[in-house]
Symmetry: C2
Subunit: 344 residues, 2 copies
């Protein structure tokens, strides 16, 4: 386990999507966060006290979390410098980049000298097997999206909490660095060797017979030219009984790809259902979650209502309006007796 | 470069698909192969002289190729024992498994002692970037399949050779261990970190402006529950102008997954075209290649004719009947002025 409390790194980032890991911890483990570290001129904040390294250590922070989600997962000189400063100040370091802390000799030497630790949360288990797609017992829901960084993790956690609040056994299964830091476990599916994508998810959400749910965090999008392979392997491995579609209205283009439009909701849902049927023939869509944080409340409500009409599914913003309507839909039917959206 | 000539390993395998790497070298680089190594009772042969390790070394073999394609890519005790014996006899070792030769201390020590080398051909380049899907110049063809190990590499090499025979610049772009051993270069796309699948292919077949073709070897199948993620990322990264569909008639189930039927040709083609359009809107199918090696010649011809009628595309067995009809179709139209099969 990574020792808390945490100091959350924002650095010189300007795009909220770049700091999604720091933000996720601030949102879901706020009681474990003592402050945020940001450069002069960084316009972002998590609403935590701004602290320097020594100040944070003095306030009790035990680990600096480099909660940055950059495409390609490069560490880069700024993050290495920040990690060095944090080690000097007496804090451990946690990061979920493809480039590993343990491959930075300067950090390794400094950690050894100070008796501190480096946590690479994206390391996959060493002994994964290829997926097989054989039907396995258990109730599984997967969040899918029109794009990356569009609310799949928030939605998945909200659904897990709402199910547990109704007394239904439910576990959040984390597949990305942020989710893993929040849950304390999981598999970073985009970091496994490509042959083992679906196998990693079969491991993460194995056969289950307690009538409880595995709520599996989706990644990427079947339409994202960088990451669609991860999304498809995840979909096959999850063998989901239920899908929830996530979107952020008004996004100008797919993340990291200026000029590429975000696909439509109906097309995204249809393509995901079609692919999911390979390992879960009776899969059904149970709801739509929109990140409406940039909209007025009334506009957000109107959009949810219109989306419900268009797709024939409950639609909500999980943060603003909760997920009860989706939970109602999820629990209203027995497995393998569902109509799919294709039949509407 | 891996020193030839080669001794090809078959060991105790009984399924021809398990030795596809050894078989590919025997087929396409036969002049570089001195013999085959197989256990008593192994029913397979490549038509090369059967040799023991010392005998092969005495006959001039400089490298034992562990040409086995096992799901999951485990080395296992038999292969490690065979590699040890080959090193003792004075041969280098080449293998394309996920489990690396260099991670077997016994082999590393023995190679060092003997002054020999271990070649892990599945090692990806260290500095891959994520794919972007931006349109890039160049003419690219990708082979896709209903299943794994179904003839995509054979087809791709046959197409490259046929294009060159017509005086058209054409390069085979290898994406698997067998292809890499044949071509002497390439990227094992199933061995890259999952986030970099499409990026690896953008690297393998970069922008090109000499009017020549990149013939890209496909992997897996969009319908294979183990490997579909690799297939989709490869498809997006390839940004293909043309697809050739590969199938083996009569296969009882998808490779490695008893009970899972092989998808139909039309469905496979439609799903691949649909997904390919994400990065190559004008993609078209140009032909179908069947592995008819288990059929009578007349039956094979009838099947090709029937498939042509059904799909409206030239259909052939590339080994038995050549690929000229597909090349004719490929070269008959200018890029981005094609009808797709969806419009038939």
């Amino acid at each position: 386990m990574i020792p808390g409390p945490f100091l959350l790194y924002l650095g010189n980032k300007t795009d909220p999507a770049d700091v999604k890991t720091s933000r996720g911890l601030a949102e879901f483990r706020r009681e474990d966060c003592v402050g945020e570290y940001r450069d002069d001129g960084c316009p972002l904040t998590l609403g935590l006290p701004r602290m320097g390294m020594a100040e944070a250590a003095a306030a009790g922070a035990r680990t600096l979390v480099l909660g940055i989600a950059s495409a390609g997962g490069r560490l880069g000189p700024e993050l290495v410098a920040a990690a060095s400063a944090a080690l000097e100040a007496g804090m451990n370091i946690a990061a979920g980049m493809h480039e590993r802390l343990r491959n930075e000799p300067r950090l390794v030497a400094l950690a050894a000298e100070k008796g501190l630790r480096l946590f690479d949360v994206r390391d996959p288990p060493p002994d994964l097997a290829v997926g097989k797609g054989y039907p396995r017992p258990g109730r599984r829901l997967l969040t899918v999206g029109t794009d990356c960084s569009i609310g799949k993790m928030y939605t998945t956690i909200a659904l897990a909490r709402a199910l547990r609040a109704r007394g239904v056994a439910a576990d959040f299964r984390a597949t990305g660095q942020t989710g893993i830091l929040i849950a304390g476990k999981g598999i970073a599916v985009d970091a496994v060797v490509a042959d083992f994508i679906s196998g990693a998810i079969e491991r993460l959400a194995p056969a289950r017979d307690d009538d409880g749910w595995d709520l599996i965090e989706g990644q990427g999008s079947l339409f994202h030219p960088s990451f669609a392979g991860v999304s498809l392997g995840l979909l096959h491995g999850a063998q989901p009984e239920a899908l929830v579609l996530c979107d952020e209205p008004g996004r100008p283009h797919m993340r990291g790809i200026p000029g590429r439009p975000v696909p439509g909701l109906a097309e995204t849902l249809e393509r995901n259902l079609e692919a999911a049927r390979s390992t879960s023939p009776d899969v059904r869509a149970v709801g739509v979650c929109l990140n409406t944080s940039k909209l007025e409340r009334r506009e957000a409500l109107r959009l949810c209502a219109r989306t419900e009409d268009e797709l024939g599914l409950p639609c909500t913003d999980p943060i603003a309006f909760g997920v009860e309507a989706i939970i109602d839909n999820l629990l209203c039917a027995e497995p393998s007796a569902h109509a799919t959206i294709a039949s509407h």
